[in-house]
Amino acid sequence: MANSIIRLIDVTFAYPNGTTILKNFSLTMLPGEAWAVIGPSGCGKSTLLYLMAGLYQPSGGQLLVDGQPLSRPRPKTGLILQDYGLLPWSTVQDNIALGLDIRRFYGPDGKHAPIGEPLPNRLSQVNYWLKRLGIDHLAHHYPNQISGGQRQRTAIARTLVLNPDVLLMDEPFGALDALTREGLQRLILELRSEGHLTTVIVTHSIEEAVYLGQKILLLPFISANLGGCVIVDNSKAGSADYRQTADFFFNCNRLREILETL
């Protein structure tokens, strides 16, 4: 498949201590798809995400993003973690501008920043996303002065400022209260509907996986002895009111059943 955005071919990953997390793992994601990855703790779902982000290197096999082998984080891939992703000594505004500042620091070298894509105006770009995510009144606050939900909005804004085509999220809303979580989930759907954003969300919540993932990857406890990985089609996901439909509940139950058999 030539037009895949993320492609793993027989990827194996083992930690330096010898623990094998993934073995001969293959997967293809198409541009614009919304993926959710779910599985028990320690199944390697975060590892999979870090591999796709270029933060880990596979010990075997090949990983292509946008047709290119990945040897370092790719400028057009955004990553959002559950916590600790923001610089505690920088204001919300400066945190959002961090990616732009790093690009300016290196210059367009094709390694850390794309060549031929002029750097957007720092102030106007940052202000746009501050407003868009409803955190403009917090521009001069530090991360420890704002709520968890506001911190995640800052992290999302920091990624979107860089105009990504892939958004990777590692349990991004796990530590938030239900209403904040739902607000941010709707925000992800909104952002997806606006552009060709491919999203991959790692979660331990069945409801979140079904709400945000049009394709749901279930990883068994030890993905190393594979064969067990299952992809569930959930193509009706993607609209904000999907949560209230009978399909949603049906798919949650189906996912729960499959998870129990893994």
């Binding site: 933060l55 984080p73 990553l79 500042d101 690009r103 850390h112 991360p143």
Partner: protein
């Protein structure tokens, strides 16, 4: 601990009152009360000398200790960051640092003076050496304690090693560096006093011990003590101010 100006003023006033009381007690109790002159007498001498001879010694001492701080920071911060970031290097050097850290470096002053001479270089070197280890250890520990999630997320938006140093490690260690400096500025000045007490003809240590004390000019001696205290206070205020400014996020 950041002090308000009002508190500083009150502290100064309290010091003067206690000093005056002690001077009165000395007047009654001591056979030679001139050993403990009252603040008014010392302040008069201080202000008559600070724009001349004493001021010059003050500047010499200030230059030595500030140069030493600058050298220690410039050397210890990158080395501390490198050690904190590269577990291999840290494993290699940490036994050495563990042994060297508690050694009172001041005992090496005679050797340093043999090697570097009796001029500024030896004095600056000994103070730098002491501060170097203090800063090295806190910077190293701070760099090892940074959360891997933070590093990962900053790497994911394009930061390589260089940008990580510029945008993460360096700002993360600033509070630790300032704390180390605040704790060790007293030691630095004590060491300066000792280093200036022999084989030199300048600096407040020289002024206090050689020019004033050995010729029994007590008011001048106290003016020197006051100048040295003010040097310590000045550095402390600067570090305090930097801390207030640079660590507002805490």
């Amino acid at each position: 601990m950041v002090m308000k100006w009002r508190d500083a003023l009150f502290g100064l006033l309290a010091t003067m009152v206690i000093w005056q009381l002690l001077a009165w007690i000395a007047l009654i109790a001591l056979p030679t009360p001139s050993v403990f002159p009252p603040p008014t007498e010392v302040l008069t001498v201080f202000f008559s000398l600070i724009f001349g001879e004493l001021g010059w010694h003050f500047l010499v001492s200030a230059w030595r200790v500030i140069a030493a701080i600058a050298i220690a920071v410039v050397l210890a911060v990158p080395i501390g960051l490198a050690l904190g970031q590269m577990p291999f290097l840290n494993r290699l050097f940490s036994p050495l640092i563990y042994i060297a850290y508690p050694i009172p470096k001041i005992v090496f002053l005679p050797i340093i003076m043999v090697l570097l001479g009796a001029k500024d270089a030896s004095k600056i070197f000994i103070i730098s050496l002491i501060l170097f280890f203090q800063i090295l250890v806190v910077v190293r520990d701070e760099a090892t304690q940074l959360r891997p999630e933070l590093i990962m997320s900053v790497r994911s938006i394009g930061a390589g090693r260089l940008a990580l140093y510029r945008f993460v490690y360096l700002p993360a260690t600033i509070p630790a560096v300032l704390t180390a400096l605040r704790v060790s500025v007293g030691t630095a000045i004590a060491v300066l006093f000792f280093a200036e007490s022999f084989a030199t003809t300048s600096g407040l240590g020289y002024y206090i011990l050689i020019e004033a004390w050995s010729t029994l000019r007590y008011p001048e001696m106290y003016a020197g003590v006051l100048a040295m205290s003010l040097l310590g206070l000045f550095l402390y205020f600067v570090i305090d101010g930097l801390e207030k400014w640079l660590t507002a996020w805490k």
